[in-house]
């Protein structure tokens, strides 16, 4: 397989932001990682991918998650434009959370993360000296 000649990295856009010499918040990769950063974050997103949830429903779906961290994650994800809060008036208070379109687009991202992580158990990666065989991760899932 012929390696690229003038290209930088396969799979990476030819964008000036791809050439940063240190972690900067304006890098798209950093933006996404910042949105997903921290424990529990992806699980909260996964729950929301199933549909709208209230605070309590999320807490029930993830029993080991403290309300403080849940609050943190929800704020973080709202701040990243992943979800929106829908606070309804009256008593008792009921707030539901749902993904934005942008939040839904996290689906493919999580899928990519899943695929890479799932491929490790099956394929060899201990005796990997040669990188010429560039097999795509052909998991049928999804």
């Amino acid at each position: 397989m012929a390696h690229q000649t003038v290209r930088y990295a396969p799979g990476l856009p030819d964008d000036s932001r791809a050439a940063v010499a240190e972690p900067t918040p304006s890098c798209p990769v950093e933006i996404t990682l910042a949105a997903l950063r921290g424990r529990w974050t992806t699980l909260v997103v996964r729950e929301l991918l199933k549909g709208e949830h209230t605070f309590t429903q999320l807490a029930q779906a993830l029993p080991a998650l403290s309300d403080k961290v849940l609050t943190d994650r929800l704020a973080q994800l709202a701040d990243s434009g992943v979800l929106v809060r829908d606070r309804r008036p009256g008593w008792p208070p009921r707030t539901s959370y749902r993904l934005t379109p942008r939040g839904h687009r996290l689906g493919p991202v999580l899928q990519a993360l899943w695929d890479w992580g799932a491929a490790g158990g099956d394929t060899d990666w201990g005796a990997a000296e040669n990188d010429s065989g560039r097999g795509a991760a052909e998991d049928d899932s999804g």
Copy 2:
């Protein structure tokens, strides 16, 4: 393998590991995030996607990265099966690092992270109430 029916969330496999109630190391998503965890990690991978590098070359490409953290990242990535160390005998010592096939497969993952993060600046995500578009961003311009 025929598990096409996605009952839970769009984009997530119908795997028992997709139903975990707390962050567990065996979850594929966690595996990938663990491999990419920490500051500088994706930048080190990006450098290596360009080709083989020595320790010093990596340090030069990322000047603000301390050797301690670089060592940490390299160990972490080697542990995740992303790269291999090629230590050559003689003096001065020269160690080069290169991606494994598995490491190269991180390209699409980084691409997915990039795409999502890059889409934020352009599209609306403030007034997002309704989800309709589920377009995969496959801009592979680089």
